[in-house]
């Protein structure tokens, strides 16, 4: 700790000297990398106190495949409940102790992390995604019938809210005994797509499982256009895992339906599957259907992360719906799916594991997916090769779970 601080202080001095000698200021000061150990990875480690509270530490690391990864004496501390997501080269933390703050975590030249944020809300933000190069968009949903859907636009540079738009949640569904529960948000072109499932605000029972629904709003006006539905599958997404909608390079949206009890459904009435909304369109493609259950031995995909070239990293729930523990987000098996050829390839060497019941903290980088897998008594990084479907077990994690896995 002390040594690294000395080095960074020394390197800052060196940087100053270098920049004084070389007058070209547009030269990115990356040349100081020779004296500073690069720490391109950042993990948001959640540590649980025995009293039940969590504290999150976002820590930079040089290597995630060796040794142990610990927040001891390092990392940005955030007590409360936090969710982490990365847009472009900035990690955003969303959460707090009893309010919701939104902060940008960025990497400094000395490879440390710094945080900046100016937003304090009395309401939780369910997700924060990229709307355009300058703008992020967040969504909040009501917990009572007759409430509002709230979109907030953020200036991506200053992390401040530029606009708050409230729209009636009755646009989404006419039920008077259920409220929309968040499952996915994406902006493609001049449309916002919001997926959700209906849930009783008191009992959390899901009694509307006969169709998939995605609400479409205009962007940047944020006016309600319509709800598109499809009865080939049940609702899109599930409780708190935020992976109902994914977008590929071309702007095609994939909508994942599983109706898993393990992800908050008290009933299911339709098969699982993946639907598609073609780029530029605002309707489900009736020609496209990824019959997940047929491709994965009757099992369902709960988490999906698009990695490129029509492929996605997924977590398959290996228990039949009737066998799943409610809200358990388990048991999961890691795989790569081809969204066009409808194949499922399991990754060798990754044990069947429990999910965290929250956003999948997976990193895709250079053909590899990095994910922290909880095992009997410890958590390890697994680096999974998405072309050969092999894996390598990496560093041990000194935390109770990993809320974010990023690379700057």
């Amino acid at each position: 700790m002390k040594i690294s601080r000395k080095i960074s202080a020394w390197s800052l001095g060196l940087m100053a000297a270098v920049s004084m000698m070389s007058c070209s200021s547009d030269d990115d000061s990356n040349d100081s990398g020779s004296s500073v150990t690069e720490k391109p990875f950042a993990l948001s480690l959640a540590i649980q106190g025995s009293e039940g509270g969590f504290t999150y530490y976002t820590v930079p690391f040089e290597d995630v495949m060796e040794g142990t990864l610990s927040a001891s004496g390092q990392g940005i501390e955030q007590p409360g409940y936090y969710d982490f997501t990365k847009v472009d080269n900035t990690v955003y933390s969303i959460g707090g102790l009893d309010n919701t703050d939104v902060s940008a975590i960025t990497q400094n030249a000395d490879q440390t992390l710094s945080t900046e944020g100016n937003v304090s809300l009395n309401e939780s933000i369910l997700d924060l995604v990229k709307a355009d190069d300058e703008t992020l968009i967040s969504v909040s949903l009501p917990s009572t019938v007759g409430g509002v859907v709230t979109f907030r636009l953020f200036d991506a540079n200053t992390v401040s809210i530029t606009e708050t738009v409230e729209l009636p949640s009755s646009d989404l569904h006419s039920a008077t005994d259920a409220v929309p529960a968040y499952s996915g948000l994406r902006v493609v072109g001049n449309h916002v797509f919001l997926s959700y499932y209906m849930s009783n605000p008191t009992t959390w029972a899901t009694e509307y499982t006969d169709q998939a629904q995605v609400a479409v709003y205009s962007y940047p006006e944020l006016e309600f256009i319509k709800v598109i539905t499809d009865d080939r599958v049940g609702p899109i997404g599930g409780f708190n895992i935020k992976s109902g909608l994914e977008v590929d390079e071309a702007g095609n949206i994939y909508a994942i339906s599983h109706s898993n009890p393990a992800n908050g459904f008290s009933q299911s009435t339709k098969p699982a599957g993946i639907l598609k909304i073609n780029a530029g369109e605002t309707e489900f493609d009736q020609e496209y259907f990824f019959d997940v259950e047929a491709a994965a031995d009757g099992h369902n995909i709960s988490h999906l992360k698009y990695i490129g070239n029509g492929k996605a990293f997924v977590e398959v729930n290996t228990a039949a719906r009737s066998e799943q523990g409610t809200w358990s987000d388990s048991p999961l098996r890691s795989a790569v799916v081809d969204l066009n050829n409808f194949t499922v390839n399991y990754i060798d060497g990754v044990p069947v594991h429990n999910g965290d019941g929250r956003r999948l903290a997976a990193l895709y980088n250079n053909g590899y997916v990095y994910l922290c897998i909880p095992e009997e008594s410890s958590i390890h990084v697994y680096r999974m090769d998405t072309t050969n479907y092999t894996s390598t077990k990496g560093a041990q994690i000194q935390a109770n779970f990993v809320a974010g896995f990023f690379k700057f």
Binding site: G49, N99, N118, V119, T326, N400, F401
Partner: protein, 794 residues
């Protein structure tokens, strides 16, 4: 009693006119007071009538009065349980007269609490338990309450969420919440409403507070894990005390307390009335958000939704000193409070519409008799029935407030804290305490306690009448049995061995198979038993050097909501057992006089606590449902020291310091997705808990300032809390760690009394240096505040 004698002597002096001789010529009077068996008597009141001069005998029974104007006087030696003796002395200029006095026991007047001639506070302090007895007398003229007095006791830390009437948490060497039990005159306060909280009890209504640390005597029949606090109200037979104070933040506090006893018929009536009001509009440094939720500024603003109002009336009637009862009282208490809630758990959440109100009615019966059936048996019995209604209101929708108090319109249909609620909790509770003490012989005493608690709660939410968790009333029966045996072979040594049994029965109906189509409702019962034991002993190494050691293996039974859950997201845990702890205390106390007129009292304590099976909510990440479980293990090593110094009777200095190292000792933490996991915090200090704190107080008293029979006193209080981490110390970079900074606050009060304490005026400044003070999740407390208090005491 001491107080009453003092008042009586003052009254006597007032009635005697022209009593003031020339002051130029004076004499001294001293001597020893003993009982007729030769035992020196401690705390005997010695009053030189007419001269209005008085003192008390010291631990060896000696008294000394100096600078008495020459003349012929009646000197009165009085002590409860002994016949008052008056002797005539003639004092000549420069004379130092010695007068030894032997008092004879008055068998008609023996009072159980004054067995060996110590003041009550002294007697409590000499018990083998680790106990602090704080006399309230020093505080009578201050604008203060029970809570702030407690906050100055070693090992005690009180965490307030704001100003007057705000929620607060009492902690004793790291134990808090229902791990510490509170009593008022031995009656448990567990389920009193917020209108009868510690910060509403006026100081003028109480005589003393006893804080039992870790090891609790059987007569307070309860399941306390970390200790107990017993608040003793004024027991005087005849008195009247009326006080009113007002000050900053539009704070008004009034209290009238009194008692009347007819010495012939034994009829007695006692009353306490108090009223508290404050706008609590003190300034805080807060983030100001704009309509979008961006923090546009951080500045000092006044709190705008924090009004507190409470009132209480208590009347007791009965008889005293009858053949069938030393005391038989029935009483009724009615209390009510209204509280606006300004913030959530942190200052980032601001409310403008949330209210909490409560109403309580308590009926009590108290009976006490020494020498029931046989002269060796003492009995006391208390019964209390209380009905408390708490009303939580969060119905303001469509509006959110920022720290400027500006309502910002939103389309939200929710309340400020989430789902709108208009909820009434109706609690009914019945408590009894039976204490029997039997003196087998001079050195063997047995004591027995039985305590019963019955608790019943119903919740009605008019906005969500179908909420499943409110459908099932909860009942809770708890029986505590305690037996103790005290062996006191000689004056130097005594020991008490005790055992306690805890028996709990709980009953409700509950919903099964939540979240599935098979949901059904069925009755649900549970019972738990536990047995604890302990030993407390004390030894006088020297007459003025006392050593104490005590140990208890103690339990806290789970509370109803911990066992039952709320039938929705907190599910019942039939396996839930009591929390338990092994508590050790070692104390040493030394009183000495390094020189004449200098009195020093030095006290040191070491405490060890090993608490396990602590009850916490299971952490669930994936699942919205949770339950309580016996999860945590915590070890506390604590050191505390107290030093008090007195010079003559006009200068007092005192202070205490507490260091507590409270570390997490659990091997595992539990959560729903991974089950038992390594506890990465093991061995580290638990977060958001002060570990080093202390208090200093200083006081000077001057008599006859400007006007005769007047008193001028200046009191100063200093409170210090070292900085501590809001979360676990080990993790995170230093610059990102959330820290509660070091805090020190200074209070200063100047009191002026006329007619020997009959009329009192006090000007008080709290937080003199206007420091920023925090508690809990960095909630800011009031800055500098001024209070003026008037008090009339008869």
């Amino acid at each position: 009693m001491k107080h009453l004698l003092y008042l009586m002597s003052i009254v006597f002096v007032l009635l005697t006119t022209n009593s003031w001789a020339q002051i130029s010529e004076t004499a001294n009077l001293s001597g020893q007071v003993t009982a007729d068996d030769g035992e020196p008597l401690v705390g005997v009141s010695v009053v030189v009538l007419k001269a209005g001069i008085g003192t008390y005998t010291d631990v060896d029974g000696f008294y000394k009065l100096t600078n008495i104007p020459t003349g012929i006087y009646s000197v009165q030696f009085s002590y409860v349980g002994f016949t008052t003796q008056t002797v005539i002395v003639e004092l000549q200029s420069g004379e130092a007269l010695t007068k030894a006095i032997v008092l004879t026991e008055d068998v008609t007047q023996i009072d159980e609490v004054t067995v060996k001639g110590l003041s009550k506070v002294q007697k409590v302090k000499q018990e083998p338990y680790s106990v602090k007895a704080i006399s309230a007398e020093t505080y009578y003229n201050l604008s203060t309450d029970v809570q702030s007095i407690l906050g100055r006791v070693e090992g005690v830390n009180i965490r307030e969420e704001g100003g007057l009437g705000s929620d607060s948490q009492f902690s004793l060497f790291g134990f808090s919440g229902n791990q510490i039990k509170f009593f008022i005159d031995g009656i448990p306060m567990d389920n009193y409403g917020s209108s009868l909280g510690l910060n509403t009890i006026p100081v003028t209504s109480i005589e003393r507070i006893e804080v039992y640390n870790g090891v609790v005597p059987v007569y307070l029949g309860t399941d306390a894990l970390g200790g107990a606090v017993n608040i003793i109200t004024k027991q005087n037979s005849n008195f009247l005390d009326a006080a009113y104070s007002f000050g900053s933040f539009n704070t008004h506090r009034a209290a009238v307390n009194g008692a009347y006893t007819n010495s012939e018929t034994g009829f007695t009536v006692r009353g306490n009335f108090n009223f508290n009001y404050s706008d609590n509009d003190y300034e805080v440094l807060a983030d100001i958000t704009d309509v979008n939720g961006n923090i546009e500024d951080t500045r000092w603003v006044e709190r705008f939704h924090d009004t507190y109002k409470s009132g209480m009336a208590k009347v007791e009637v009965g008889v005293v000193d009858k053949s069938y009862a030393d005391q038989l009282l029935i009483g009724i208490t009615a209390a009510k409070d209204e509280n606006d809630v300004q913030t959530g758990a942190t200052m980032e959440t601001v409310y403008g519409g949330i209210e909490q109100n409560s109403e309580s009615v308590i009926s009590t019966l108290k009976y006490r008799k020494s020498g029931l059936f046989t002269e060796h048996l003492d009995a006391s019995f208390y019964a209390a029935y209380n009905a408390t209604r708490t009303h939580n209101l969060d119905t303001l929708t469509g509006v959110r407030y920022n720290w400027l108090g500006t309502p910002i319109n939103t389309g939200s249909t929710e309340g400020e804290q989430g789902n709108r609620n208009d909820e009434t909790l109706t609690d009914n509770e019945f408590n009894t305490q039976l204490n029997l003490g039997y003196q087998i012989s001079e050195s063997h005493t047995l004591a027995f306690n039985h305590a019963l608690q019955y608790f019943h709660r119903e919740i009605d939410d008019v906005l969500n009448p179908d909420k499943p968790e409110n459908q099932f009333p909860k009942s809770y029966y708890k029986n505590n049995l305690g037996v103790s045996y005290t062996f006191s072979p000689n004056k130097k040594w005594n020991a008490t061995l005790f055992g306690k049994g805890y028996f709990l029965n709980v009953e409700t109906s509950k919903q099964y198979d939540f979240g599935t189509p098979n949901v059904r409702i069925d009755s649900y019962k549970n019972s738990k038993n536990a047995f604890g034991y302990g030993l407390a002993t004390t030894y006088f190494l020297l007459e003025n050097l006392q050593l104490k050691a005590s140990y208890e293996h103690t339990y806290r039974m789970p509370a109803p909501e911990e066992i039952f859950g709320d039938n929705l997201f907190v599910t019942a845990n039939p396996e839930l057992g009591p929390e338990q702890s092994d508590n050790f205390n070692f104390n040493a106390k030394w009183d000495f006089e390094p020189a004449e007129n200098h009195n020093v009292q030095l006290e040191g304590s070491f405490i060890y606590r090993n608490a396990s099976d602590l009850i916490y909510q299971r952490v669930t990440v994936a699942n919205p449902q949770t339950s309580f479980a016996n999860l945590a293990e915590v070890r506390t090593l604590g050191y505390a020291g107290t030093l008090n110094y007195k010079f003559k009777d006009w200068l007092r200095l005192g202070g205490n310091i507490t260091y507590q190292d409270i570390t997490d000792q659990a091997d595992f933490v539990y959560n729903d997705y991974a089950g038992q996991q390594t506890n990465f915090q093991k061995g580290f200090r638990i977060p958001n808990t002060p570990y080093l704190f202390g208090n200093v107080n200083a006081g000077v008293d001057f008599k006859d300032v400007v006007i005769k029979q007047s008193h001028l006193s200046v009191n100063y209080f200093f409170n210090y809390i070292n900085e501590y981490f809001l979360s676990w110390a080990e993790y995170g970079s230093e610059d990102s760690k959330k820290i509660i900074p070091e805090q020190s606050s200074h209070d200063l009060a100047v009191s002026y009394s006329l007619k020997d304490g009959k009329y009192n005026f006090t000007l008080e400044c709290k937080n003199l240096t206007d420091q920023m003070l925090f508690d809990q999740y960095k909630l800011q407390k009031p800055g500098r505040a001024f209070y003026l208090k008037f008090r009339y005491a008869l």
